[in-house]
């Protein structure tokens, strides 16, 4: 009796899910902070320094979360951006750094506002929270990038953080920041965005490194464990590629 290919796919998915869930559940039992020893990425390692510089200069920091809607295929990339935002928000509020968060999808707007509002409440400054610190710019990627670039010009921004779903249009934000000599930290998953960000900044997280944002910036155990699981599965994937190529080659030659 042949199995339904969809069924096989589902079983595989659920099997991997169960494995990862098991590891995460074990880790969740021990909440807390620990360092992400698995790997250190310059993009996230220098982020605190960039925030510190913003505090010293007295300028604003711009965080671009991109156009990946929470209901779309880029939702997880945006979620990684939120992990970074959560980790940074406490410092931004504590140091009284003016913060502008731009989003290119309206579903990100209430979530980003919520993260920022909670950061203010946790520091006992609920009255200082301004929902207009989070700005929806435009639903089209190019218009979003052009609008976000405008914030760098008009709001005395001294540091720019780009993390989320972007394409080649991110170069408009990057160019505005470079022209003004603004410190830039970026993390992008799409190859088009990586290509244009590479010449602009040394602090660039590429591809799956973006998902290390939460672990690297907050050190929360659930993120660090998640990153460790990701690294293990990455090694498995790397090993599987030559093996599957060899098997395919041997089958073809028989």
């Amino acid at each position: 009796m042949g199995l339904d290919p969809n069924m096989i796919e589902a079983v595989l998915w659920l099997g991997v899910s169960a494995l990862v869930l098991l590891v995460l559940l074990v880790a969740r039992g021990r909440e807390g902070v620990r360092s992400a020893e698995t790997r250190q990425l310059s993009a996230f390692r220098d982020l605190r320094r960039v925030v510190g510089e913003s505090a010293e200069k007295g300028g604003a920091i711009h965080i671009a979360l991109g156009g990946g809607g929470i209901a779309g295929e880029d939702a997880m990339v945006s979620l990684a951006g939120f992990q970074l935002l959560e980790a940074l928000a406490a410092d931004l509020v504590s140091y009284h750094i003016p913060t502008i968060i731009s989003v290119g999808d309206p579903t990100l707007l209430p979530l980003a506002q919520d993260v920022l509002r909670r950061a203010y409440e946790m520091r006992g400054l609920p009255d200082s929270y301004d929902p207009n610190q989070v700005r929806f710019v435009a639903p089209s990627p190019v218009a979003y990038a052009a609008g976000a670039a405008q914030f760098l010009e008009s709001e005395d921004v001294v540091a720019s953080v780009i993390i989320g779903a972007f394409g080649a249009e991110v170069s408009l934000i990057m160019e505005a920041a470079s022209r003004r000599g603004i410190s830039q930290v970026a993390a992008a998953a799409a190859p088009q965005a990586v290509g244009v960000l590479y010449p602009a900044t040394e602090h660039l997280a590429i591809g799956e490194q973006l998902f290390a944002a939460g672990a690297q910036t907050s050190g929360l155990r659930r993120y660090v464990t998640s990153l460790e699981v990701q690294d293990v599965l990455r090694l498995v994937l790397i090993a599987a590629i030559p093996v599957s190529a060899l098997v395919t080659y041997l089958r073809g030659s028989v």
Binding site: V20, L172, P191, I206
Partner: protein, 207 residues
Amino acid sequence: MSFVRKWVSVLVASVVGIVVLLGSLLRANAWLVGARDVLVDWAIIVAGFALLLGILNVLSVHGGRVVRVRKEWGYSLALLISAAGLALVTAVQGPSAGSTQMLVDVVIVPVGAALAALVLFVLVGAVSRMLRVRRDATSLLFVFVVAIVLLGSTPLVDWEWLAQPPRDWIVNVLSLAGMRGLLLGVALGTVITALRALLLGDWPHER
């Protein structure tokens, strides 16, 4: 109370997520596929309300800048007037009327295309800046590869044989392999983040 509220919302989000996931994986099960379609439709409706929030946010941010006469408030005023004009035309004529479509085709599309066309020039500018700031081996390699690909893509009459073969090899072998590796890594990160969100309720609003 907040504990109960938190876990109820986590439970609802997780159950909905799992039903949508199973509906996408087990396409032979009509009930799951139907439930998935209904839930996705609800998500689209919620996203529609989010767009309304987004529009209010745009009006609030730019209205505030105009009222307080902040830096570059003129741009904000232009945006508000344009938005009001387009909304008025759309309300009177309807979204698919000729005049509404004309505003989109004559203003929005060309401006978007012009901005997109800037990307190449911006990239060339960024590369020249990079060469001034970072003169290491990887930067030089980056510039070398970009130069070969650009030359190979340029119609050099009678000289295509010089740059086109290395360009094709870079694009079809090196670049493609790198891109696949990148996308596999992203897929892995996406799956793990999705599992955390789906099964453990690890959303920003749940913490």
